[in-house]
């Protein structure tokens, strides 16, 4: 018996609709997050991640509705992030059916929020998202700097140091995105991923840059990630979850099948 590496498709949701497009042949409405979630549930994804990228605060409530409707039909783990600012935001997401919440900008601006959230809901449900980029400004040695607001705002904070801090405060997992790699299809930044994963006692989800199934293997085998997150390679039907798992299993990494997804072949 051993814990299995998790494969996590990530859906960007704006005003209650999936953006960046999902290109499954059998979806009638590719913009409907619930239909997309169902497809991933049936394909045997190990977890699903919704990232709410709604910019304005007036449409924020749509994500609660999306999570609630997803939890009605998908009996799989859900992680939800984007725009979380208060304890009440977390409570509403958990009540709607999320299992974990992903905190990014608020965690960087006010790290004590992590402690408050972990104290209330337990460390197991608090994921801290770290978006990092290699920079060398104002320092002798280049370092991994954290960026907030979807990678737009530099903070001057060292990602490796910040990771130690959030673990001590009660974070239960880290979602690490390499901004340099995000959207490039060039693969995870393995150097950063491994350095960070090896330095913390909590699981790490690797994100940013997946273009091939080898990249998923590298994230786990070389980057020491507990889970791998990807968007476009799954959304555009380049690979199915089942194909990804078969490939990872062939590389000697234990994954979960449970009879899912074979019909997709």
């Amino acid at each position: 018996m051993t814990i299995k590496a998790r494969i996590i498709p990530c859906l960007d949701v704006m005003h209650g609709r999936v953006v960046k497009g999902v290109n499954f042949v059998d979806l009638i409405d590719a913009g409907d997050p619930i239909q997309t979630a169902r497809a991933y549930d049936e394909a045997g994804a190990d977890e699903l991640c919704f990232l709410d990228i709604t910019a304005s605060s007036d449409n924020r409530d749509t994500i609660f509705d999306v999570v609630a409707r997803t939890a009605e039909c998908c009996f799989m783990p859900l992680t939800v992030g984007g725009g979380i600012r208060t304890i009440d935001d977390i409570r509403k997401l958990l009540l709607a059916g999320a299992d974990k919440v992903c905190i990014n900008t608020t965690a960087v601006k006010n790290p004590d929020f992590i402690a408050q959230a972990a104290d209330k809901f337990g460390d197991q449900c608090i994921v801290v998202a770290i978006d990092a980029k290699r920079t060398c400004a104002e320092r002798k040695n280049p370092y991994w700097e954290i960026f907030t607001y979807g990678g737009r705002v530099s903070t001057g904070i060292d990602a490796l140091e910040f990771a130690q801090k959030v673990v001590a405060l009660g974070a239960g997992e880290i979602l690490l995105t390499s901004i340099d790699r995000d959207g490039t299809n060039a693969g995870y930044n393995i150097d950063l991923t491994r350095k960070l994963a090896d330095s913390i006692s909590i699981p790490l989800i690797a994100s940013g840059g997946v273009g091939t199934l080898d990249h998923l293997v590298e994230g786990i085998r070389d980057g020491h990630a507990s889970a791998v997150l990807a968007a476009s390679i799954f959304h555009f039907g380049k690979y199915s979850i089942y194909e990804a798992k078969q490939y990872i299993a062939k590389a000697g990494i234990p994954v979960r099948f449970d009879g899912y997804g074979k019909a997709d072949e």
Partner: protein
């Protein structure tokens, strides 16, 4: 049959209710699934479910704050023998005490402490998050039709604390994470799972259907 899911301010009640509805539908069992904080409705239900997401202390407080709830549970479940399922912290609350953040008394129905997981020699990460297989220690109606063992179905875990049962015979199933961890506990009409059946896809829905059909 009416299943009461106890609403005491803990998260994920909806997910649990929806999974029960789905499991009942798939097995063609007529069951009314009710989320309630009314002690009277709990007392008259056929089966009772205590979900739980949060810290041990917080969940215990929530349970105490529902008027008459603990008394009704002791009357109908502990003494009355009504089938009861505790999930995650809902299962941990069956213990004598929880040692998360501070020492908090549990319901004390199954002896043992809820303690922090230790990474062990393999340098495992805590929390234990993800899919793991189960080893069934005793045949039980709740695991009917569920393949267990290294090649069996997987259950979804997300926790940092685990139930260290005083009497190991109360452990119904274990999983391996730097040592054996109680994945399910059982004692007469009481069942508890550390994993989340409502999030465990195939295994979870089958387990819930088995609970619906269970006559201890």
């Amino acid at each position: 049959m009416r299943i009461a899911i106890i609403d005491y301010g803990s998260g994920n009640l909806r997910s649990v209710a929806k999974a029960f509805e789905r499991a009942a539908y798939e097995r063609m069992i007529v069951a009314e699934i009710e989320i309630t904080n009314d002690a009277e409705r709990i007392a008259t239900a056929d089966k009772i479910v205590l979900p739980g997401v949060g810290t041990y202390t917080d969940c215990r407080k929530g349970l105490e704050q529902v008027p008459g709830m603990i008394a009704v549970l002791e009357e109908t479940v502990l003494r009355g023998g009504k089938p009861f399922l505790g999930i995650c912290v809902g299962m941990q609350l069956l213990s004598t005490r929880g040692l998360e953040k501070e020492v908090t008394p549990g319901l004390g129905w199954i002896k043992g402490n809820v303690v922090r997981m230790i990474p062990g020699k393999q340098n495992l990460k805590v929390p234990h998050i993800g899919w793991n297989t189960l080893e069934l220690l005793v045949p039980h109606a709740l695991f009917k039709g569920i393949p267990t063992g290294p090649n069996g179905l997987h259950a979804y875990f997300v926790h940092s604390y685990h139930f260290d049962c005083t009497n190991k015979q109360h452990r119904l199933a274990i999983t391996d994470y730097g040592g054996s961890i109680a994945a399910a506990v059982a004692h007469n009409n009481l069942i508890g799972t550390q994993f989340h059946p409502e999030k465990s896809q195939h295994l979870g829905l089958r387990f819930i259907a088995n609970f619906l059909e269970w006559c201890p």
